[in-house]
């Protein structure tokens, strides 16, 4: 918590430095949340929960020559009553905090600090440096390297199972409006040896693809290979067909080789993941059809089949969404959505003593947002066969004091097999403003 506060404070101090930052554009996102709840611990006392959490984001653009920017985001929590979570009265995290320099050409940029990397098959968070640029003739390259951002230590261990450092990159080629092909990889330093877990080092390489042989057809996806286990880890592909502007038909295929895909996760390869089978190859195939009836109303129907060594399951359903926004008032809108899905899954996917994992899922929401007040209703239910259902309803009501400052509160109530009933409250103060000339980022 102290560490996070220091980092956020340092970022704030940086902002006050009288560099040639007079033309800087500053954007602040702050949300203060007060949770209210009670917890009945089996065989213990009733606990009162009053966690106060502050989320804070700062973006400063147009620093120095106008191409340098600073971006930070993090949160801190203090419990005003009993400990709400992870046995601590206070906690915090710096989600990201980096300086970025954007070049005027070739979409080139350099980032230094804590950042997220999304490059082909790579999805990582690191404390370090990343660079990318377009090259002529449709080529592009990126590279990154730095220290791994660690999480909480695993139970009974002095580590979270990750190596100390990480580097990698991606090279890509795009041909017209038809093809993009990328090759990417990452190499993490040797994973630490743990007492109760047997996992491997995090090293992956792979390709990502976008192919549009016709203006109505596109294929996106990626395949990855684990050089540690010397075998394929994942294939994930999505085919999209758009025969009409309003109609989109899609089909997806996903395949995961457990030992190769989960290899670097101490948690997922442990004996505590009861259904982990190193030799397993799991698959899912699915399809969806979406139709935009009007600019405001869209309908979606979808189907997915899951296939594992322990059995197969099917999920299918439909939903509709309606969004009406008055363009002159961005905050004046009415939105609603309703959906139904059914999962057909046998005993192999159920937890004992239940004989089936099938359930019906029903959801509906309604929102009204005006320049002054805003309100939302949300209801979600999972209805099982032969056992208690799980459902929850939430009412939210708020008021915009200014376009940037709003106060809102949520009350939710539900019943489920875990608790006889569950009620929660949340008070939310948000301040989101920017002092920029251009469009506001969300």
């Amino acid at each position: 918590m102290k560490k996070t506060c220091c980092k956020l404070l340092c970022s704030a101090v940086l902002l006050s430095v009288p560099l040639p930052a007079l033309a800087a554009e500053i954007s602040v996102d702050a949300s203060t949340l007060f949770g209210i709840g009670q917890r009945d611990v089996s065989g213990g006392k009733k606990e009162s929960l009053l966690p106060a959490t502050q989320f804070l984001g700062l973006d400063v653009d147009r620093l120095a020559d106008g191409n340098l920017s600073l971006h930070t985001y993090g949160w801190g929590r203090a419990d005003l009553a009993d400990k709400s979570y992870n046995g601590k009265n206070e906690d915090g995290s710096l989600t990201y905090g980096y300086l970025q320099y954007r070049f005027k050409q070739a979409n080139a940029n350099i980032r230094a600090g804590r950042t997220f990397i999304h490059e082909g098959i790579v999805n990582e968070q690191l404390d370090g440096l990343s660079v990318r640029t377009d090259l002529p003739a449709g080529f592009g390259v990126s590279a990154f390297g730095g220290a791994v951002v660690h999480g909480k230590n695993l139970s009974g261990e002095n580590s979270d199972g990750k190596g100390a450092s990480l580097f990698g990159g991606r090279a890509s080629y795009r041909y017209g409006s038809m093809l993009e092909l990328g090759i990417s990889g990452l190499y993490e330093a040797k994973a630490p040896t743990l007492n109760s877990y047997t996992h491997g080092s995090h090293r992956l390489t792979g390709i990502d693809l976008w192919l549009a042989p016709h203006k109505m057809v596109s294929l996106s996806g990626q395949s990855s290979y684990n050089p540690e286990t010397k075998s394929v880890a994942e294939h994930s592909y999505l085919l999209t067909v758009t025969p009409l502007q309003q109609l989109i038909v899609s089909a997806e295929f996903n395949e995961y080789h457990s030992q190769n895909y989960f290899n670097s996760s101490a948690l997922f390869t442990s004996k505590h993941m009861l259904t982990y089978n190193p030799s397993e190859r799991s698959r899912s195939i699915g399809s969806s059809v979406s139709y935009q009836l009007t600019k405001e109303l869209e309908l979606v129907a979808d189907y997915k089949h899951y296939s594992r060594q322990l059995g197969g399951a099917d999920r299918y359903g439909a939903e509709t969404r309606f969004t009406l926004t008055r363009p002159a008032y961005q905050s004046d809108s009415i939105r609603y959505g309703v959906g139904y899905h059914y999962l057909h899954a046998g005993q192999e996917f159920a937890s004992a003593p239940y004989t089936t994992a099938s359930y019906h899922e029903l959801r509906g929401y309604l929102m009204h947002d005006t320049k002054g007040y805003f309100a939302a209703l949300d209801a979600l239910g999972f209805f099982f066969k032969g056992r208690k259902s799980a459902w929850e309803g939430t009412v939210s009501l708020g008021y915009h004091f200014t376009p940037a400052l709003a106060l809102s509160g949520d009350i939710s109530y539900g019943k489920n097999p875990e608790f006889s009933d569950e009620s929660k409250g949340l008070l939310r103060l948000t301040y989101n403003t920017t002092f920029a000339q251009n469009g506001v980022k969300k």
């Binding site: 949160w75 080529f139 505590h272 939302a376």
Partner: protein, 158 residues
């Protein structure tokens, strides 16, 4: 062996020359603006092709590929993995980190209880549901909780 070394040396020099030639031309390649020049409606399904010609120079796909249809929203990882510089013209990194992060303090659907229209995972009582969904498709859990953001998982799975 000498021939092999010679081949490597020649290839390296050719590669270096090509790289320098490419760098010399980079000044002619355009960059996207840092942010979208106009504000866009919140919660509206974005279709870039409504205003932009379906043609893009450099390494970006055509704009119509980024139409925020329901399929796009559910499969946005494929686009974020190769085109996050376009995403970042409209979205701050924190928009992504509302769900994708290293350490979540509060369930996204609870943090944004006033925005039920946003696609957010684990709505309702996921404590009950994860016992089924985790067996059904563990790879979908792994993407977020495999190597990070698993403080809650290890409380029981240890």
């Amino acid at each position: 062996m000498t021939r092999f070394k010679l081949t490597i040396s020649v290839l390296t020099r050719i590669g270096l020359l090509l790289f320098l030639a490419a760098c010399a031309q980079m000044g002619t390649l355009p960059s996207l603006p840092a942010s979208h020049p106009e504000a866009l409606a919140i919660g509206q399904q974005v279709n870039c092709a409504e205003c932009h010609e379906d043609q893009q120079k450099g390494t970006l796909k055509p704009y119509k590929a980024f139409n925020h249809s329901p399929v796009f929203v559910k499969s946005h990882r494929f686009y974020a993995a190769s085109d996050d510089r376009l995403c970042s013209t409209c979205h701050k990194s924190s928009f992504c980190n509302d769900c994708h992060t290293n350490k979540v303090q509060i369930k996204p659907s609870t943090k944004f209880g006033n925005r039920p229209d946003r696609e957010m995972q684990h709505r309702g009582n996921f404590m009950t549901m994860h016992k089924i969904e985790g067996k059904l498709d563990p790879a979908s859990c792994y993407r977020c909780h495999g190597r990070a953001n698993n403080e809650r998982c290890i409380q029981c799975h240890h």
